[in-house]
Amino acid sequence: MPDALLNLFWILIFPGFLFTVCLGLIASWIVRKVSALVQWRVGPPVLQPFYDVMKLMGKEVLVPQDAQRTVFLAAPLIGMAGVLLLSTLLWRVTVAPTKPFVGDIIVAIYLTVLPSLALILGSSASASPHAAVGTSREMKLVMSYELPLVLALIVVVIKTGGQLSLAAIAGQTPALSISGMLAFLVALLCIQAKLGFVPFDIAEAETEVASGVLIEYSGALLAVWKLMQAMLLVALPLFLVVVFLGGFGTSGWPLVWGIGKYVLILVLLILIKNTNPRMRIDQAMKFFWVYCGLALVTAIALAIIGNSCGISWL
C-alpha cells in the first residue's frame, strides 16, 4: 500500500503534475517576457500565466451544438494524461535513475505523439470549419516532423551503442560529435513544431484560421489545453536534455549545469520563434522531409562510420 501511495505522490505532486505545471507556467512566462523584450516591450508580470489559467477555470464552458460531446470533452484530458506520463517518466529518470525499469526511449516517443493526437481528436470533434482546416494542418505537421525526430533518436541510439533505456542514454552526451550535433539541431526544430511555436504554428495560426485547432474551446477546457502546453514546455526540452545533452544531476554543480542546459534549449526555441515568419504547411513538409531528412541520413551514415572505425567525434 505505501508503494501505491508513493507512486501516486510521484505522479500527482513531485515531480509529476503539480511540480511540472508550476515550472511550465513559469517557463511560459519566460517565453512571453523574452518575446516582449525582443520586441522592445515591457511584457507581462511573472504570475500572468497563473492568472490566465485561474480566469479560464472560472469562465463558462460552451460546447458547440453540432460537436461530438464525449470526444470534445475528453480530448484535453487525454492530451494532459500523455504529457503527465511523459514528464513523470523523464523526471523519474533524472531524479532516480537507479530505480527499476519505468520506460525507455520508445515509450517516450509514443507519449510525445499523444498531445498532438488529442489536439487532432478534440478539434475534429468540434464541428467548426476553421477547426477542420487546423486539424488537417496539424495532421500534416505531425507526419512531417515525426520522421526526422525518430531518425534523430536513431542517431542517438547508434552513438550510445544500442542503448534504449533512458537512464543509460542520460549518462552519455551524444551531442558532442558531428552526427550527434546534427541530430540535436534537427530534433530542436521538431520540438519547435511540437510546441506549436512560430515558424511552425501553422495549425494554430491566429490571423488565418482564428486559433485553428483550439477555436471552439472555452473556459475550463481551454485552461486544460493551456496547462498541457505549459507542461509540454517543460517535458520536451527536458527530453532533449536527457537524450542529447547528458541529462540532469540531482545536486551541486551537475544540477546547476542541467538547469543551464534546459534554459539554453528554451532560449534557442524563443529566439527561433521571434526571428522567423510563419511557414505554409507545404513549406514545412518540404523542410522536414527533404532538408532535415537529408541532414539526418548524413548523420546516421557518419554515426555508423564513426562506430565501426572507433572515431568518437564523428
Binding site: R41, G43, Q48, M54, G58, L62, E206, L214, Y217
Partner: protein
C-alpha cells in the same frame, strides 16, 4: 470580490469585432499592442476566437449586414464578458446617424439579446489609445 472577477481583471483577453467601421478605430486598437503602449503589461491579449475572449472591442455603427453577426459573436462569447463600444460610431452611430443601412448603435443590438449585458463606451473619432486603456480599467473596476 470573488476569485473569478479578480482573475478576470488580471487577464482580460479581447476579441476585435469590426461592424462596419472605417478602419480608423481598428488601427488605434492595434496601436495598443505596440511597444509604446504594450497592454500585455496588464495581461490584456488579443485573441483569435470569441470563445477565448473576455471582452469584445466593437468598432463601427453596425450595418444591417453586420447586426446578425454581432449577435452571434456575443452569444459565442463565454460569460462573464464585457462589450466595449470603441469610437463615436459604435457609441452613437456618429456621422452615420441618418444612414439608411445603419441599424445600430452597438448597445441596442446587444441589449436585444441580453438586457443585462455589461457595456462600456469609449467615445472619440478615433479614441486615443490612452482613452481606451482608461476605459478598460474603468469598466473592469465597475464589475
Amino acid at each position: 470580490m470573488s476569485w473569478r472577477i479578480w482573475s478576470l481583471k488580471k487577464s482580460p483577453w479581447v476579441f476585435h469585432v469590426n461592424t462596419g467601421a472605417c478602419n480608423n478605430c481598428d488601427i488605434e486598437i492595434v496601436n495598443l499592442l505596440t511597444p509604446k503602449f504594450d497592454v500585455e503589461r496588464f495581461g490584456i491579449k488579443l485573441v483569435g476566437s470569441p470563445r477565448h475572449a473576455d471582452a469584445l472591442l466593437v468598432t463601427g455603427g453596425v450595418t444591417a449586414q453586420a447586426a446578425p453577426r454581432l449577435r452571434e459573436i456575443y452569444r459565442q462569447t463565454p460569460k462573464p464578458c464585457v462589450v466595449f463600444c470603441i469610437g463615436a460610431c459604435a457609441c452613437d452611430k456618429g456621422i452615420f446617424t441618418t444612414g439608411y443601412h445603419m441599424v445600430g448603435p452597438v448597445d441596442k443590438i446587444i441589449r436585444e439579446i441580453d438586457p443585462k449585458a455589461i457595456i462600456a463606451y469609449v467615445p472619440g473619432c478615433p479614441p486615443k489609445p490612452e482613452a481606451m486603456i482608461s476605459g478598460v480599467l474603468k469598466a473592469l473596476s465597475a464589475l
